[in-house]
Symmetry: C2
Subunit: 103 residues, 2 copies
DNA sequence: CAGTATCCCAAATGATACTG
DNA sequence: CAGTATCATTTGGGATACTG
């Protein structure tokens, strides 16, 4: 839970399931997260070796994030959480897809 | 994450996997949680219909907690999280079993 | 573009003592 | 036994502005 317990960590991992993403792509996928939070949680995930950050020394800057092999091991759990969440919302009478991006 | 994101919720669910437990049994299983927190998170789980609380009107009081059918649906995820956590600790060089009760 | 810096607030948790 | 009450503290997160 320390690893994916943050407010956006699971969503970030979820977004990276389908491949490498640049910073602003993640930002678009998780618009509720402010730059500060996004940066913070990305760093957390990087420190936990769930994701890897690749910085291209070009102007303008280009950064790419992707799951590490270890991070991949988390994918089934994140997906399970996601579909359980859908089920939960159904039971609660509020059907919402996995692409749910917050209120 | 709102459901199991609390500090002890997942541990409580994990403890209830093997059957009904009384309050003090859960307390023993999750000793880091103060009575206040335990009570609070138990209520949360009850409101989310993950667990059910049965109060026996006897003296001294007797209360039992168990997973609802809906709560059972969470078990595979909690177990997956647990074993992933073990794996995580191994990778980090700190092998710790699922019965890990905090520092 | 990909972030940082600074300030602030609310929620979560902890400690301790008490009760039906 | 199974909690509550009260108070203090920590932590997470938000808003906004700025930068290499």
């Amino acid at each position: 839970m320390d690893v994916i317990g943050g407010k956006y960590n699971a969503l970030i991992v979820y977004e990276l399931i389908n491949g490498t993403r640049r910073y602003h792509e993640i930002q678009k996928a998780v618009p509720q997260a402010t730059p500060r939070m996004l940066s913070k949680q990305l760093k957390e995930l990087e420190e936990d070796e769930i994701i890897i950050r690749t910085l291209y020394p070009v102007v303008p800057p280009k950064t790419e994030y992707s799951l590490t092999e270890f991070g991949q091991s988390l994918v089934p759990i994140v997906e399970a959480l996601c579909s359980w969440g859908e089920h939960y919302f159904e039971v609660a009478g509020v059907p919402i897809p996995c692409t749910y991006t917050g209120s």
